[in-house]
Symmetry: C2
Subunit: 154 residues, 2 copies
DNA sequence: CTCTGTGCAAACACTTTGCAGCTAA
DNA sequence: TTAGCTGCAAAGTGTTTGCACAGAG
């Protein structure tokens, strides 16, 4: 399973790129050389790169691209759900003094974070292939969405 | 201490504070007024505050404290496991172009992020009390620890 | 041809650091 | 007493923004 995720197949890449171009057209975005290059760089790697990393990579085949464009494009990609942010919300760090096991729900509009506890999340064992390779120190379950009061505001 | 909270809840806070002081002594940290004030402010709220928010709150009862101290203290608290970071790693945003459902393991040393897929995590239903109140758009399961190559380096 | 996208530079928000004086142990 | 802590100011890091020009549709 680790392997399958790491070896993203070439044939699949082509289709992804076609789908992406369609997605751009559907959402009214222009298919620019830069946008395509950033998207390709992102799906060609399994290392969950930062904007800086994508920038360095794209620069090799497109030397005039700027870091700003990469930043803007990555943000756009996540807005049209062609990419996800796996680390760093871009907002300030936030802390929790509650040491008991629990999970969080975060409202993407008002940024409110709510604690909850749902035992089944806690009960799921970390898979063996992960436990064998890595020392797991922490397990986080995180939900995102729109909270009740933000929904009413629509 | 306000005396309106004279029951078990307050006793719990009291115990937490005692435990915290012990934790400081055990880890060789001094129990300073600032450190205590920051810790209290953190456990008195359920809103997962940022450093800035904690700062504003502590300032009311301790006007000379600086934001730097709050930042430093919150970092220290998470280092001694008296608090957790629930949002914002402080590092750069990182992106993922893999849209299939999957989970992540992140090595806290080398920052490498590895994809895996463990169906049981996917199968857990979001609890009803959350689904009823909030519109859930995304579910994230995230493991943190030490990866194989970093363990060997010890 | 039009209007979005890009590159540049400057602005920005948050966090960290160097240092001198302070304080808990 | 003294090692560690704090407050201040300055630097650092990553991201966003305003603007004029370029290029996709």
């Amino acid at each position: 399973m680790l392997n399958r995720c790491n070896n993203r197949k070439k044939t699949g890449q082509k289709k992804k790129i076609d789908d992406f171009q369609k997605r751009c057209r559907d959402t009214g975005l222009k298919v620019t050389t830069q946008r395509l290059a950033v998207y390709k760089a992102l799906i060609e790697t399994a290392e969950h790169p930062s904007a800086e990393t994508v920038f360095r990579r794209v620069k090799q085949i497109f030397p005039t691209i700027s870091l700003d464009t990469v930043n803007r494009t990555l943000r756009t990609l996540s807005e049209i759900d062609s990419a996800f942010i796996v680390e760093g919300s871009g907002e300030a760090r936030r802390f929790d003094g509650n040491l008991h096991p629990h999970q969080h729900f975060k409202c993407v509009r008002c940024k409110r974070i709510v604690d909850f506890y749902h035992q089944p999340f806690d009960n799921v064992e970390v898979p063996l292939n992960i436990r064998r390779k890595f020392k797991v120190l922490r397990k986080t379950v995180y939900l995102e969405g729109i909270c009740d009061s933000c929904r009413e505001k629509n």
